[in-house]
């Protein structure tokens, strides 16, 4: 007997054209809006930003770069400990920084000073942290920013959980979270995308693909044609973007942000960039990459590109040298404040371990104080 039960015919769902659809990572497409010379390649996708905003974006990228370069310099002077440079990755964070709002959340890894500062974290706090004081993660003027998270990829799950809270509490908030190319090999990366997809939470995952996980190139991390394609397996939109193109990053973030706010859930953005500096100040990149490669990437520098665009449009009229001097003065002032921060006390080690400190810790602290007294009286 032939069954008269018919399987439903597949209906092709007509989705509105979106950049996430148009730049399908399965075809290894890349979203790029201006080229290395600042020429607009794709007028249609150019974000609708007024000149003042573009100028603000450039200044923010410049401030990030100067802060970063000075951090490396302070470290070299022996005034700060190990520091991971951000040099070359400014466009990604500035684009996110223009979109993220006061109540939106940021779960950073450890190479995101640009968007951290956009959220209100001060250079002083960043310096304090890298001077070896946890008070640098007690962000006094930044709301909803998690401390720097060193265990690779683990912060992505925190972002997913925050996304669940936002949805559960019916708040209009979005979570921005970051990971490097190496971090995409961690189990937590896949688990976070999977949970975020199942829970349909408002989280924007950004991979800062800066080509290297310390010394290991991205081709040794994965056989995938790109990193954005990993979103496909989890049923969420993914896109590969030229991370050194401020406008492309802005366009991608705008759509991801609108998606998140309108209940469409998480997105994955792979931002293609280059870590121009070392992994950290303890690393020597000459061991694993060539000068030629570095020079190739220099041509894509995000600041130079945006500057060329502004010059062509004739909107940049500032005295850049003066601006840099002003930035340096401000940053140095903040560095000095960090250097003169209240001395680290014994209680700083103990008092934040628990909200409600157990007696065992109180006893350990008291024992050490007794030792300190003994040492003092012995002099």
């Amino acid at each position: 007997m032939i069954s008269n039960i018919k399987a439903p015919e597949t209906t092709k769902i007509k989705l509105p054209r979106t950049i996430f659809k148009d730049f399908d990572p399965r075809e290894d497409k890349i979203l790029r809006i201006i080229d290395n010379e600042g020429e607009v390649l794709n007028k249609e996708l150019m974000p609708d930003l007024d000149d003042a905003t573009i100028i603000k974006a450039y200044k923010s990228m410049l401030f990030t770069r100067i802060t970063d370069e000075m951090a490396v310099s302070y470290q070299r002077q022996g005034r700060m400990f190990t520091y991971p440079p951000n040099l070359g990755q400014e466009a990604i964070q500035t684009a996110g920084g223009l979109i993220i709002r006061e109540n939106d959340w940021l779960a950073p890894a450890f190479r995101e000073i640009g968007i951290m500062m956009a959220k209100g974290v001060t250079p002083k706090e960043l310096f304090l942290y890298y001077m070896g004081n946890e008070q640098g993660s007690n962000f006094r003027t930044a709301n909803h920013v998690l401390p720097i998270c060193v265990p690779i990829g683990s912060q992505l799950l925190h972002a997913t959980g925050i996304g669940y809270s936002i949805k559960y509490q019916k708040k209009d908030e979005v979570v921005f979270t970051y990971v490097g190319d190496g971090g995409t090999s961690e189990g937590d990366f896949s688990e976070a995308l999977n949970f975020a997809g199942v829970w349909n939470v408002p989280v924007i995952f950004t991979i800062q693909n800066n080509q290297y996980a310390i010394s290991v190139p991205v081709k040794s991390q994965t056989k995938s044609v790109n990193l954005a394609i990993k979103a496909i397996a989890f049923g969420i939109p993914g896109i590969k973007v030229d991370g050194n193109d401020f406008f492309a990053m802005y366009a991608a973030y705008k759509e991801a942000f609108d998606n998140a706010r309108s209940g469409k859930g998480p997105t994955l953005i792979e931002a293609l960039t280059y870590r121009k500096g070392a992994h950290t100040t303890s690393d020597d990149p000459t061991k694993y990459r060539t000068k030629e490669e570095e020079q190739e990437w220099d041509k894509t520098d995000p600041l130079i590109r945006l500057k060329k665009y502004m010059d062509k449009k004739g909107i940049w009229k500032e005295n850049e040298e003066q601006l840099i001097e002003d930035f340096k003065l401000d940053i140095d002032k903040q560095f000095t404040e960090a250097e003169n921060f209240t001395a680290y006390k014994l209680e700083d080690i103990f008092q934040y371990m628990y909200v409600d400190m157990p007696d065992i810790l109180k006893k350990q602290k008291a024992d050490y104080e007794q030792f300190q007294n003994w040492k003092e009286n012995r002099k």
Partner: protein, 325 residues
């Protein structure tokens, strides 16, 4: 009052907290619809909805890591990991983030989170289903580790754990999940974390135990009594922070200490108790403190398990040797 098993008492504690606090959410593998593999959360999804009591995808690191995100953004997650031996994929999140976020952020973020899981052997289970990893978690600064041994304690301790602003590892003795029934108040009550309980007073020897071993110790005490030995039994209830005061006071009284636990002996809670005996009651000791604990081996499968598990006669054997030392 109602007669409850440990399973029912934990369910009742979750029910009370879900009812009175909208920020409490409960999830894990099979925790929602099915009520967990041990049915601890049975009926709660029906009562509180799928947004508050739900099944998560199968990934322990994500269950805990996402729970941390929830805890720092206004919720009080009570997450369930299915078995002791399945907690290890979540270890990185627990040790590297959950236990540290309050310290790392200098108090900006509190982590009011409970990680529950059944632990311990004696149920003829598969590998990875019979382990006692309390020392692993007790060693991590920033955590509290709690283990109940009765339905009454399970309810009061779990409510305290959920109300704690610090993260709590809540280990449930699966072997006695349903083996012990007890009158338990239907009202809300709490039992303070960090306080041990003197279960039985005695004068000749102190036994410190917790979880499913309390019942085994009580059986051994019957044998000891017949032999004319008076045993003081202390139930730790909280592994960390350990209640040194109650333990030291008891050792000073009896002069002898035996620790009974299922976990491998070396570098264990038993080892910590040896240190407490030495540091806090050295001059009172009349016999070397003794550990009656698991071997430094994997918990054997069913055919070998009876030799691994601590039995009342083995406890009594050590009581006699210690008292006659």
């Amino acid at each position: 009052m109602s007669v409850m098993t440990i399973v029912q008492a934990i369910n009742n504690a979750l029910d009370i907290k879900l009812e009175e606090d909208k920020s409490v959410v409960v999830y894990g593998e099979d925790t929602g619809l099915e009520g967990g593999v041990f049915r601890v959360t049975e009926g709660l999804q029906k009562k509180y909805g799928v947004e508050r009591v739900f099944d998560s995808p199968l990934a322990e690191s994500a269950i805990v890591g996402a729970g941390l995100g929830m805890a720092l953004s206004g919720l009080r997650p009570v997450v369930e990991l299915q078995f002791d031996g399945f907690t290890y994929p979540a270890f990185n999140q627990i040790i590297s983030n959950v236990s540290r976020m309050h310290n790392r952020s200098r108090g900006v973020y509190k982590i009011p989170m409970v990680i529950r899981f059944p632990y311990g052997g004696g149920i003829n289970a598969l590998e990875h289903h019979s382990e006692s990893p309390e020392a692993l978690y007790a060693h991590i600064p920033g955590l509290r580790v709690v283990i109940p041994s009765t339905p009454h304690d399970a309810k009061g301790l779990l409510i305290s754990a959920i109300e704690s602003d610090d993260p709590v590892i809540f280990m449930e003795p699966k072997r006695i999940y349903r083996a012990i029934k007890q009158e338990v108040s239907n009202e809300k009550y709490t039992i303070p974390l960090g306080k041990a309980k003197v279960v039985t007073e005695g004068t000749d020897v102190t036994i410190v135990a917790f979880g499913a071993m309390i019942r085994e110790c009580q059986k051994a005490i019957v044998l000891a009594k017949e032999a004319g030995i008076s045993v003081e039994l202390i139930d730790l209830r909280t592994i960390y922070p350990i209640d040194k005061e109650t333990i030291a006071e008891s050792i000073k009284k009896t002069g002898r200490l035996i620790v009974v636990a299922e976990a491998p002996e070396s570098f264990s809670v038993g080892a910590e108790l040896m240190a407490i005996a030495n540091e806090e009651a050295f001059l009172y000791l009349e016999a070397p403190p003794k550990r009656v604990m698991g071997f430094d081996t994997i918990v054997p499968l069913a055919q070998g398990e009876q030799m691994y598990m601590i039995t009342p006669d083995r406890i009594f054997y050590e009581i006699e040797r210690t008292v006659k030392f």
